[in-house]
């Protein structure tokens, strides 16, 4: 448990959270490992968990019927995989697969939602962090969509 607390505290995502809030999070977290090629999430599955990547890279892929699967982003350490768990009942939208050996903190979405609702200060602190990451991802996606390298 002490190791898990240390691992959570080491993540910039949780910077600024006090020890009490970090201890609350530990109850919903566990260390997870994935081998290269292993799926963290599969599109269509219930969205009940999210991962904070500590080591390795995770691909986000879209399966398109009749066409080759498309990779839309590579997630690197410090970023999260899985946002849909915030809004139940939710399904995973993208396949998330380990490109390398991946070490991640996984958080049980049901457990975390319960604690966020019971402690609004914790809920606000986490929602703010998740929103910041989501905003950065949205900005990246917008830049990607501009297709700026296409010859005109």
């Amino acid at each position: 448990m002490e190791d898990l607390t240390r691992a959570i505290r080491a993540q910039p995502f949780f910077d600024g959270l006090d020890d009490v809030k970090l201890a609350t999070l530990v109850g919903c977290a566990q260390n997870t490992r994935f081998h290269p090629g292993e799926f963290l999430l599969r599109a269509g599955d219930p969205a009940s968990v999210f991962y904070l990547v500590r080591e390795g890279r995770v691909s986000l892929d879209v399966e398109i019927p009749g066409r080759p699967a498309l990779r839309v982003e590579t997630v690197v350490p410090g970023d999260i995989v899985g946002i849909s768990w915030m809004f139940p009942p939710a399904r995973v939208h993208l396949d998330a697969r380990a490109l390398d050996g991946v070490l991640a903190l996984s958080f049980d979405g049901t457990c975390l939602r319960g604690k966020m609702e019971a402690d609004p200060a914790l809920g606000y602190a986490l929602a703010r962090r998740l929103l910041a990451l989501t905003m950065h991802r949205l900005e990246r996606v917008r830049l990607q969509r501009l297709d700026v390298y296409k010859a005109t």
Binding site: R57, S59, L60, D61, P68, A69, L70, R71, V72, E73, T74, V76, P77, G78, L99, E139, R140, L143, Q144, L146, D147, V148, Y149, K150, A151, T152
Partner: protein, 279 residues
């Protein structure tokens, strides 16, 4: 730096010695400068006006090694009427060249500091001489980081260079693409996002950024958010250049002329212009 021609507006006729296709619409020309006593000296970041007979002139960055003035190298994307004519030329054909023009990357100012190179698409061409210079004078710089973004894996420019640079223990190289098939083992995402995983000291690093303007704007913002000051971020601007000598006004960019005052600018001096909808 002096231009190579007798008069800055008179092109020299140079023979193409080799043409290499880089990617689908991008090719590299090597030009014979053996007839010149000192070859074709230039500074990283400078450009030449290339003249295709009967078609016109176009400003093209020099993409070769500044430590090897015995060969002049240009990497060109065939997108307009002039560049398409140049694409049709081969070894033995002649092309008009005048230059070099423009301000260079601040390689002297960056000495003793970490060097962060952020390139997008064809923007790697004008940055290639800067990377080659830094690697040839490796002890002059701190960490050297090269971050490159392309449209797809098939659009990655100078792939062999990137592999060679990545193979060095003293250089950090990361490549990303905007989209890729699921079997692509590399990174997918925009090049500014690579800055967060790169290893350099933001407090002292000098950043050289080249690519589409919107990409440079995002990259400069990421660099700023990491703590790189605006006077240490340098961008290379592209405008429709005609004379190359600040006479005709075609490349006027607010109060500056890109061909004469640029193409390399300190970001804090042009940041305001990046925000304007029209200039």
């Amino acid at each position: 730096m002096e231009t190579s021609a007798l008069h800055p507006l008179v092109p020299s006729m140079l023979r193409i010695t080799r043409v290499r296709r880089e990617i689908d619409d991008v090719f590299t020309l090597r030009l014979d400068v053996s007839g010149r006593p000192s070859g074709f000296p230039f500074a990283p970041g400078q450009f030449n006006m290339l003249y295709a007979f009967g078609a016109g002139e176009v400003a093209i960055s020099i993409s070769g090694d500044p430590g090897r003035p015995g060969e002049l190298v240009h990497t060109v994307r065939a997108v307009g009427s002039v560049t398409r004519v140049i694409q049709g030329l081969g070894a033995g054909d002649t092309i008009g060249v005048r230059g070099p023009y423009g301000t260079p990357w601040p390689m002297k100012e960056a000495r003793g500091r970490d060097l962060v190179v952020v390139a997008g698409g064809l923007g790697l061409a004008p940055l290639r001489p800067a990377v080659l210079h830094a690697l040839a004078h490796r002890a002059d710089y701190g960490r050297v980081v090269v971050l490159y973004g392309a449209r797809t894996p098939a659009d990655i420019l100078f792939r062999k260079d990137l592999e060679r640079w990545r193979g060095r223990l003293d250089t950090e190289v990361a490549v990303t693409v905007d989209s890729a098939p699921a079997e692509w083992p590399g990174m997918v995402g925009v090049v500014p996002a690579l800055l967060h995983g790169a290893h350099f000291d933001p407090a002292g690093a000098v950043a050289l950024v080249c690519g589409p303007e919107v990409m440079m704007r995002f990259a400069a913002r990421e660099l700023s958010s990491l703590g790189v000051a605006g006077d240490r971020i340098h961008v290379s601007m592209e405008r429709n250049m005609k004379c190359g000598a600040g006479l005709c006004g075609h490349c006027q960019y607010g109060p500056t002329f890109v061909c004469k005052d640029g193409p390399v600018f300190r970001f804090d001096r042009v940041e305001r212009l990046f925000q304007l909808r029209e200039i």
